[in-house]
């Protein structure tokens, strides 16, 4: 879809409504610095970026860039805004209020979908792609790769795996399983699952032989526990006391305390520097981001080490592993604290039993008052959230002796009580083992799911890599073709985009510089070459981005490209973008003039902006910017205007020709010096041209008689019909037609029929003469 027009009203440099009338054609706009060319590009960017213009982003421009977007001299109540009309008649209109808020209307939804990076290239952005990091290059190219859906899928899979891990409580469950395993080993030693199951089956047979039969081991444990509790209730007070003391003695409080201490110490050594590092990361991140694009080495914001940008990704991975280890330590600590709290809770429960009341009283008479007092003052839930060293010391010093005392008191117990206690513990710990087996199966399922999701993510990323490779190679072919057109026979070759082997989401540029392979153009290319390469990459991406005809805006992109290569850009636009709408804006008068000669007039329009005078006058078009094609278009209805346009073209173009050919003009006083007419230039060019303008025939140069005759004919018609067209408006269509043809033919005298270049394209024979590219046509100054 082509752009029909862009209209501005008090937007940026514009004052009263001014329009860039493209009529769906390509256009070259010339304007001196500050004339307002870029205001039209700003309008495009404003629409494409939903009200943002990147080069205006500044602390003083305001939240909505309200201090930068409206014309500084917009009168009270002025209509500030823009409108972009497309060739299909659809339109986007934006009204901007003084506070920067905007109201968009119209049906031009199509344009809002265009990608700015593939539509507009400004002077300051030419080398942006090259100077960006590998990740930024990948991001810039991603929409072109057509892989956004796969990239989204890969990222979603990564996030799902993480959420599954968090939701399932995988880490905590692993910790609990580890505790259960320790308890199992302490009680059952190395007994296998089947030996434990057999032991429970024996006990079940022994105590519950008359009850309902079941094969479910957990149900057996449940039935057993109830039967054992029943028998315990029926036993003597001594026996019950003994069993309760065995329960107390079985608690491994000392190990729990040591477990918390060990993990606390490891956690402290991991977390303290981590907190400091995280603060440093925050402080360094801003500086780091600035340096990343301009330096080969950067200081890692996490550790401060100097590293190359290339290895930064792997360094980040190392940091991630370290953080994961710290997280594991944290979870181990949490598990140890949970174990301790559970043990303290169990101890409190056991000691509160009525069966132990006499033992407790006995103990209080001796020296264990501190133990009971400490235990009474310890709330397991509070301990879970804050378990400090002082808690551990108190538990170890005061409470552990209670367990030792209980253990000592179990000596010499009746055999029936010993058996009852042992069978009860076998049942309870056996049940815990069985639950652990079940939990382990659940964990296996979660881990299987995670492996599955992660393997999918890996597969999607690999596919992304393979497909990117193929698209990137296709773009590379275009870049190489364009580079070859701009830089034929230059020893900078094999320009290519490539995906580095060792990095994900990364793309870089390689080339061969005088036969030596280079991994980045930043290593060797001059600024001009870099910009030229940047232009090729932009055009290659723009070409790929849309098979449909979308416009491309090139705003002063040749500023650091030398004259010879600028000519090649014309060739590139004609060869590769003849089917696209291209809007070239330039402040280079020579290049503008060159483009007027070289670009196909049926596809291209040429407009000139007047120099900017005041914000109140705003952007103004010059009348002298029309082409012969525009003039011909007026023949049916306005032959006088068509003839007048032809005269104005000749006034402008002949001034350029005379300047390039160093034609000596008679001195005119003051401003008249700059207001010579076509006739004055033609008179001198005809006089000089008969001797200076020469074409090659065989091995020698001869005068161009036909060319001089064409110049004379144009001069004659300009004096008669051209003046009539301008002043009395009574020129008729056949006269205007003939005038236009004659003027066009006259200007073609200075263009070589063989190479298409103008006669002043290259210096030849020192300072004596200039010639076209192939040397077929020349102008000898000295003969004038």
């Amino acid at each position: 879809m082509r752009v029909q027009s862009i209209e501005l009203s008090w937007f940026r440099g514009a004052a009263e409504p001014v329009a860039l009338e493209l009529d769906g054609k390509s256009m070259v706009v010339y304007g001196a610095n500050g004339a307002g060319k870029s205001s039209f590009v700003d309008a495009v960017e404003y629409v494409l970026k939903n009200g943002r213009i990147e080069h205006l982003a500044h602390e003083y421009s305001g939240k909505r860039q309200e201090n930068a977007i409206p014309n500084t001299h917009a009168p009270e109540g002025a209509r500030i805004g823009l409108g972009i009309k497309l060739q299909d008649g659809s339109e986007v209109k934006v009204a901007i209020r003084q506070d920067g808020t905007k109201a968009t209307s119209g049906d031009g939804i199509e344009i809002e979908r265009w990608d700015y990076l593939r539509t507009v290239l400004r002077q300051g952005e030419v080398a942006t792609f090259i100077m960006g990091t590998k990740g930024e290059k990948y991001s810039a190219l991603l929409p072109l790769l057509g892989l956004a859906s796969l990239e989204t899928a890969a990222e979603n899979l990564r996030q799902i795996a993480k959420t599954v891990e968090d939701t399932s409580g995988l880490r905590a469950a692993r910790g609990e399983l580890q505790s259960a395993q320790q308890q199992r080993e302490a009680f059952f030693g190395q007994s296998s699952d089947s030996e434990i199951l057999a032991a429970i089956a024996d006990l079940h047979h022994q105590y519950c032989g008359d009850g309902p039969a079941t094969d479910d081991p957990l149900v057996r444990c449940d039935q057993l526990a109830r039967e054992l509790d029943k028998r315990l209730g029926e036993s003597s007070a001594d026996e019950r006391r003994y069993v309760a003391l065995r329960d107390v003695a079985a608690l491994n409080l000392k190990d729990c305390i040591e477990g918390v201490r060990a993990t606390s110490s490891k956690l402290a050594s991991s977390v303290e520097p981590l907190v400091a590092e995280q603060l440093a990361v925050l402080e360094s991140a801003g500086l780091f981001a600035d340096k990343l694009s301009s330096e080969e080495q950067v200081a890692c914001p996490a550790c401060g080490r100097l590293i190359s940008v290339d290895v930064f990704q792997s360094h980040l991975e190392e940091e991630r592993i370290r953080l994961r280890e710290t997280a594991d330590t944290y979870h181990a600590h949490r598990t140890a604290v949970v174990d301790l709290c559970n043990t303290v809770g169990s101890l409190k429960g056991y000691l509160d039993k009525a069966d132990l009341e006499s033992w407790r009283r006995e103990l209080l008479r001796t020296s264990s008052a501190a133990g009971f007092s400490c235990l009474d003052g310890t709330d397991p839930e509070s301990l879970r959230s804050a378990c400090g060293e002082e808690n551990l010391v108190a538990l170890h010093r005061d409470v552990c002796p209670l367990i030792d005392a209980a253990s000592a008191a179990t000596a010499g117990a009746p055999p029936t009580a010993q058996k009852l206690s042992t069978d009860r513990q076998t049942t309870l710990i056996g049940a815990s083992v069985l639950e652990g087996i079940d939990r382990a199966r659940t964990l296996e399922r979660v881990e299987a799911l995670l492996t599955f999701i992660r393997s999918l993510e890996v597969a999607v990323r690999e596919e992304l890599r393979l497909r990117s490779q193929s698209v990137v190679e296709e773009i590379s072919v275009d870049v190489r073709t364009m580079w070859g057109l701009l830089h034929p026979d230059e020893p900078i070759e094999k320009v290519r985009l490539y995906i580095p082997e060792d990095a994900d989401k990364a793309i870089d540029i390689g080339l061969t510089f005088y036969g030596v392979q280079q991994d980045s153009p930043r290593l060797t290319l001059s600024e001009g070459h870099r910009n030229s390469l940047g232009l090729c990459i932009f055009l290659a991406m723009a070409k790929r981005e849309s098979e449909t005809d979308r416009p491309i805006f090139l705003d002063d992109v040749v500023i650091s490209v030398d004259r010879g290569h600028r000519g090649m850009i014309v060739e590139l636009l004609q060869k590769v973008f003849s089917e696209r709408q291209v809007v070239v804006l330039t402040h280079d008068r020579d290049w503008y003039s060159e483009l007027r000669y070289q670009l196909d007039g049926s596809n291209w329009r040429f407009r000139t902006l007047q120099p900017y005078e005041t914000p109140s006058q705003g952007i103004r078009w010059s009348d002298s910017g029309t082409s012969f094609g525009d003039a011909r278009a007026q023949l049916p209805t306005r032959p006088d205007s068509a003839g007048n346009d032809a005269r104005k073209i000749m006034d402008t173009e002949l001034a350029l020709v005379a300047e390039h050919l160093r034609t000596r003009m008679p001195f005119l006083r003051a401003e008249r010096n700059d207001k010579r007419t076509a006739h004055e230039f033609l008179a001198r060019l005809i006089g000089d041209g008969s001797k200076c303008l020469q074409e090659k025939q065989g091995n020698r140069y001869v005068e161009c008689g036909d060319a001089i005759a064409s110049l004379q004919e144009a001069d004659r018609l300009l004096l008669s019909w051209g003046n009539r067209a301008s002043h009395t408006f009574d020129i008729v269509r056949p006269e205007a037609q003939k005038l236009i043809d004659a003027c066009e033919k006259a200007l073609e005298c200075f263009v070589c029929k063989s190479c298409g270049r103008r006669v002043w394209f290259a210096d030849a024979a020192g300072l004596e003469s200039v010639q076209c590219q192939c040397g077929q046509l020349r102008w000898r100054y000295g003969k004038g």
Binding site: L150, T167, V460
Partner: protein, 70 residues
């Protein structure tokens, strides 16, 4: 886009056979999600939690994808 979805479906089935045993229900659920929401946009935190919950529930079903494939 539809090519991508088909490709993803094939990958899900292949991964379900080749990696650790996931249930048929979980494999189908993920395949459905990858044909739909997961390729269209980045899920929100709440949506991720919901998907994770559904996947974990789907893993509780008995039949594994490998066994379903025979």
């Amino acid at each position: 886009m539809s090519d991508d979805r088909d490709w993803i479906a094939v990958r899900v089935r292949k991964a379900a056979r080749q990696t650790a045993p996931v249930t048929e229900a979980a494999a189908l659920l993920l395949e459905g999600l990858l044909r739909d929401r997961l390729v269209e946009r980045q899920l929100t935190r709440a949506e991720l939690a919901e998907v994770a919950k559904e996947l974990l529930a789907a893993m509780d079903s008995k039949q594994t994808s490998g066994s379903a494939e025979g």
